[in-house]
């Protein structure tokens, strides 16, 4: 039970996108499940983090921070909606 959730990467995502991203909805490129970024399954592993789909465990995002600069690879996501999720 080492997994965290998307709340744990709120700071890194805000740093990169310049916007609050954990309320955004992400759509899994493998199984199509959509969920708020905050509900992604997240593993922190220096020098970054990996976010997975809670339904099919596919990798959705990879974050790498080197010398204070964070890069995000979104290749596992079919879509990332910047509009906040309604109600939850």
């Amino acid at each position: 039970m080492n997994a965290l959730d998307g709340n744990a990467i709120a700071g890194s995502l805000l740093d990169v996108f310049g916007a609050e991203m954990t309320t955004a909805t992400g759509v899994c490129g493998s199984c199509g499940t959509s969920a708020p970024v905050a509900e992604f399954e997240v593993y922190l592993r220096a020098p970054g983090a990996v976010a997975r789909c809670r339904s099919c465990r596919s990798v959705l995002m990879v974050l790498v921070t080197i010398r204070g600069l964070t890069c995000v690879d979104l290749r596992g996501l079919a879509a990332l909606g910047l509009a906040p999720t309604s109600g939850g």
Binding site: N2, A10, E20, G88
Partner: protein, 249 residues
């Protein structure tokens, strides 16, 4: 992406440690005075960064315990014996020291009065920290949203904010229930077992009332609680979760 990062809208700052409060034998609150604080919403957190003399850095997230209406920033940290960061924060930090942090961050695990209720808050161990901010916010704005807090701790001695929670429970809108999983004092009237489906069924608002639910604590605790709530018929979209990591309690 790299270019966006250079915009650096979220910057690290050094906050002065104003006061330290021993909450329990393993938990300490840190009152801070960050020079540039934009204000926060109840449930948000900060990222804290420690830098060793050789330049090695360790970064962790800590929920904000204080309400938006409080004039200060308070964190509450539980010491993990073999931890890299928490023993420093819970034992070594002194008033007048500086702590590097950035925030507030997070927008999902947030409650504000406009979101309404009824509200069910479920805490495991130090998972009570962001829920305290929500309760204090509720009191500060004199909200009439009914709230229930179900708080699981190992023993009464390990209940963080104990006296304060007892005082809050005097408000008509606030109902606080404890469950002590390892040790109960003599004559204990509260619950004495781990949170399970039956206990949640007893304490939570009926699913038909569409409660808004916040669950926070160790990862295993959060998942067991959220799953049980869904089994009981609560709407997954109204259950917000925040996982702190592997479990002790």
């Amino acid at each position: 992406m790299a270019r966006a990062a250079l915009l650096g809208r979220l910057t690290w700052q050094l906050a002065n440690v104003v006061e330290l409060v021993e909450e329990t034998a393993r938990v300490r609150s840190i009152v801070l005075d960050p020079p540039a604080w934009p204000g926060h919403r109840a449930g948000q957190h900060v990222d804290v960064r420690l830098t060793a003399e050789d330049g090695y850095q360790a970064q962790r997230s800590y929920s904000i315990a204080s309400a938006p209406e409080d004039g200060y920033l308070m964190l509450t940290v539980e010491r993990l014996e073999d931890g890299e960061v928490s023993p420093y924060l819970a034992d070594e930090l002194r008033p007048g020291d500086e702590l590097e942090l950035r925030g507030p961050v997070g927008g999902y695990f947030v409650w504000e009065e406009s979101l309404g209720g009824p509200l069910l808050l479920v805490a495991g161990g130090s998972g009570v920290v962001p829920l305290r901010a929500m309760l204090c916010h509720h009191r500060a704005v004199e909200s009439i949203v009914p709230v229930r807090l179900l708080y699981s701790a190992r023993s009464l001695e390990e209940v963080v904010y104990r006296d304060e929670l007892m005082r809050m429970a005097a408000a008509d809108q606030i109902d606080i229930r404890f469950t002590l999983t390892r040790e109960q004092p003599e004559g204990w009237q509260g619950y004495g077992r781990r949170i399970d489906r039956e206990l949640l069924d007893e304490v939570s608002w009926p699913p038909g009332e569409h409660p808004l639910v916040y669950v926070c604590g160790p990862t295993g605790f959060v998942e067991a609680t959220a799953n049980a709530l869904v089994e009981l018929g609560h709407e997954p979209a109204r259950i917000r979760t925040e996982r702190f990591g592997p479990t002790g309690g």
